[in-house]
Amino acid sequence: MSEAILNITNLVKDYKTGFSGKKTRVLKNVTFDVHKGEVFGFVGPNGAGKTTTFKSVLGFVAPTGGKIELLGKEHSDSGAKSRIGYLPENPYFYDYLTGEELLYYMGELHGLRRKHLHEKVDELLRKVRMEHAKKMQMRKYSKGMLQRIGIAQALINDPEFMILDEPMSGLDPIGRREIKDLILEEKRKGKTILLSSHMLSDVEALCDRVGIIMGGAVIKIGKIGDLLKEIHTDYEMHLEGPGDEVKQCVKDLRVEMDQRAGYIVLKFDEDIKRKVLEAVTRTSAEIVSIHPLRKSLEGLFVEEARKGSSQKEQ
């Protein structure tokens, strides 16, 4: 296994809420690692604990328990911070600073001298296509521009490891495409990236591995391909013929039946594929097509969310 850039073991975080000081556990033994050179996607519904995990890694909040190792060091070590780049969720910068000033500022916080930053700042502004707005105060920036300048500031120190919290949120399709391309470019350069996203299709396209977090606990980790193998595949069969007859025939099987565009559409699980086929061949209906539905991360995600909520009900 390749070297771990981030190693989180049994991370626990409790927040005190309200005046009573009652503790709410928002992270429950979160354990995962991010390997050198990979893009790791951290997905989960709102409030699942993605951002809290990132905040713990960066030392914004103090973990209640567990261990975080960042680049082989204790995560609060400022030496580790000089080797990472971070884009917060919905990044907000300073109203009255220009994009260019922000990049100089962030570079200086990395201990870089202003005179050494000129080239880097110009290069980054070009890269995120913000040259035209470099002298504009950031209060006039659109959401997409803020996101792009946010990526630029995360790259100012040429980091080995990037943590991007919802880098695609709130962007239009073109903006998403641009950010995706930027991430892929960094990946090609060998950078390690940890990103969280609601856009599961984007995660699927960008990430080598994913971790699914729900209710503060990581419930699945693995390569996308491996995870998708685990989920049941649905099949869809299109038939032409008498609907009532088909309905009667499959009534004892777990089949969803629908009629659209002149076809009878049956949707069923892989396990009962043979039984359904046998049943429909007994009718006078004609099979037009049968095909597996595309497996997606979204399918896996929804399945896990359903499992989670049914476990809660029990």
């Binding site: 927040y15 905040k55 960066l58 030392g59 914004f60 909040v61 103090a62 400022s78 030496g79 911070k81 000089s82 990472i84 780049g85 971070y86 917060p88 919905n90 990044p91 907000y92 910068f93 300073y94 109203d95 009255y96 600073l97 000033e101 500022y105 962030m106 200086e108 916080l109 990395h110 201990g111 001298r113 105060q137 500031q153 120190n157 943590i163």
Partner: protein
């Protein structure tokens, strides 16, 4: 140190581009100029009134700017989540606190110098108008005292920024403003509190008043306006002592703000 200066530099840029600041400065200039109207009632006292009202205007506006920008120094960064960008970089929390303070301190320095120069020019023009250029060669105009009074006012702003910063590191701007003005009000009546502590019969009240007197900064030390207006000796020891008092008190405030801020979680 470079990180502190970098935070200070950007705090300064943010502050001088803030429109709130310009409205306050405009208000200050109007106040200084309006002293001309009051002064016109008495030709003899013309300059004294202009100086007195002008210095008071600088003090009021400086304190207002110190409080209103000071209470947002840290709070705004936490609330608007700009701290996430800052603290994902290798910067220590104390560097941030000291940098923010220094940035506003420099802003106040520029504003104070600007306001003082406007007032000084006004005073000079009045003198030339009434007494002619010859008046420069004679004493009795207390220029040194004038600038000393401005300097002391600036020292007071430095302490007030520190107080606002401490409150800003743990509570909302409205509460910070209230607390800061409360401390300023007590600080300006410091000697009365001391007197009260000595006179009062109840030992508990006496102890409490004495504690308040010891803890709250004595802002009366920074008011030497009457020397500037009516004449008085600028004692170098007093300047040194008052400077040391302001700087040490401010340092204590910054350390306190850092201790509070170190424990803060950015949720």
């Amino acid at each position: 140190m470079r990180r502190i200066l970098s935070v200070a530099h950007n705090t300064f840029i943010e502050a001088i581009r803030d429109r709130v600041l310009y409205s306050l400065i405009l208000f200050a200039i109007i106040m200084i100029l309006s002293s001309l109207v009051f002064a016109s009632i008495s030709a003899e006292q013309y300059n004294k009134i202009v100086k007195d009202l002008g210095l008071t205007a600088i003090s009021i506006i400086g304190i207002l700017i110190s409080v209103f920008l000071g209470i947002g120094l840290v709070y705004k960064e936490v609330e608007r989540k700009t701290v996430y960008n800052i603290f994902s970089k290798p910067i220590k929390r104390y560097e941030f606190i000291f940098g923010k303070y220094l940035g506003l301190g420099i802003t106040l320095f520029v504003i104070t110098v600007g306001m003082a120069l406007i007032l000084f020019l006004l005073v000079l023009l009045i003198e030339i108008r009434y007494e002619g250029l010859i008046s420069f060669y004679y004493g009795g105009h207390y220029y040194a005292e004038f600038f000393n009074a401005v300097y002391f006012e600036y020292l007071e702003f430095l302490v007030v920024i520190g107080i606002a910063l401490v409150f800003s590191s743990f509570t909302t701007p409205v509460m910070s403003a209230l607390f800061t003005f409360f401390v300023i009000a007590i600080g300006r009546f410091s000697s009365d509190i001391r007197l009260f502590a000595e006179e009062v019969k109840s030992p508990f009240t006496a102890l409490f008043s004495e504690a308040v007197y010891r803890i709250i900064p004595n802002l009366e030390k920074f008011d030497v306006r009457s020397e500037a207006v009516y004449g008085g000796v600028v004692n170098p020891d007093l300047i040194l002592y008052t400077t040391a008092y302001a700087l040490l008190y401010t340092l204590a405030l910054l350390i306190l703000a850092t201790i509070i801020f170190e424990r803060k979680e950015f949720k």
